[in-house]
């Protein structure tokens, strides 16, 4: 298991992060983990084998086995941060780890959310040009889309509610052999 070490900047400003999240219902924390910790975590994830999931009218990506990584996000420092979003002792569930490369995407689901959920998305990548696609995008009823470009070592937390429809933008051929990993979960 990798010992999770948050970037010192964030660790010392948990309250203001919580306030910013409560104000906007989302927050994006770049360079989230301390560098060596991130590199160690990334090495472990890149080495994972996975299963290609292709359902043409819904999605295309590689699903990685996440059993061993649940503990990473159940560590004290992460839970301390997450408690600022939930305002109570948090629990992480529905963890998914997916790798996206050329030709991969997810499409908007038809099923409507029954209640608000706080979701987190942690991005692991090299240098990623957003022009090739891959961005985590929310179509929001009666509003401009909310876009989270892929960036390495970047945590995004968002309250997903009714009228918000997330998808991963199709990754075009200019991505070449590049790919990124997205760790996704629900903070309850």
């Amino acid at each position: 298991m990798v010992k999770i070490v948050l970037n010192k900047i964030y660790f010392s400003s948990l309250d203001s992060i919580g306030n910013a999240f409560n104000q906007n219902s989302f927050i994006r924390l770049e360079n989230f983990l301390e560098e060596e910790c991130y590199l160690q975590l990334a090495r472990g994830l890149w080495a994972l084998q996975g299963k290609k999931i292709t359902r043409a009218a819904k999605c295309s990506f590689t699903e990685l086995n996440c059993t061993d990584f649940l503990e990473e996000f159940n560590q004290e420092d992460v839970l301390k941060l997450f408690s600022k979003f939930t305002k109570k002792k948090p629990k992480i569930k529905d963890l998914k780890i997916r790798r996206f490369g050329k030709g991969d995407y997810t499409l908007i689901h038809d099923d409507e959310k029954k209640k608000d959920e706080i979701k987190f998305y942690f991005m692991i990548s090299g240098r990623w040009d957003s022009k090739v696609g891959g961005s985590l995008t929310y179509n929001i009823d009666d509003s401009q889309p909310l876009v989270f470009p892929i960036a390495f070592n970047c945590l995004n937390v968002i309250t997903e509610g009714k009228g918000m429809h997330p998808f991963i933008k199709y990754i075009n051929h200019h991505a070449g052999k590049e790919s990124f990993i997205l760790i996704e979960g629900v903070i309850e």
């Binding site: 043409a56 009218a57 995407y105 995008t137 429809h165 075009n172």
Partner: protein, 201 residues
Amino acid sequence: MISSRFFDDETMKLMKEDFLNNKPFPHLIIEDFLSEKEAKILQKALVSEEFELKDSDLFTFNQTQDLHFSNNEKIKSFVEFLESNDFSILIKEITGIKVEPGALDLFGSCYEDTHYLLCHDDQLEDRKIAYILYLSEDFEEKDGGALALLSDKKGEPDKIVKRYFPKFNSLIFFEVSKKSWHQVEEVMGKKKRYAIGGWLR
């Protein structure tokens, strides 16, 4: 606009058979649909239309306004042809599906490098037939941009069964159903994939 060859009994019989028997769902491709001269005039008219980028989870491509509102005489003439009794009779003869003369949607599209349209079935309201007339230079495998038709398995798209690379002045049409799964594969390179297409109702 329609060549007299389409009204030859033997040709009509072959087209009907092909339409019904083609897999993975009923469809037909007709090459050299218009005369070459007319096709080139129409191509020039389409390229001069204003296109707007359309971008969503499902697609990225450029599209014109509804071509019913075009001011271009050549486009108007083509719209009239598609709305004519002759065309709806041709469609009925080939497909067995009655479409209302004049009841159609049509737009111009232009796919450039990285543009695409992911898998879907086109089912909406009273759409009966989807059609597309290619007005770009011919595309090859390396250019991408193929119209891929997929089989259905338990209500979801399964495997690619047919792939058509855009060929100038070819018309493709298919019956819209819950099994008419299709996609436009990503265009790769400098060629622009122009077409006029839409649905008959």
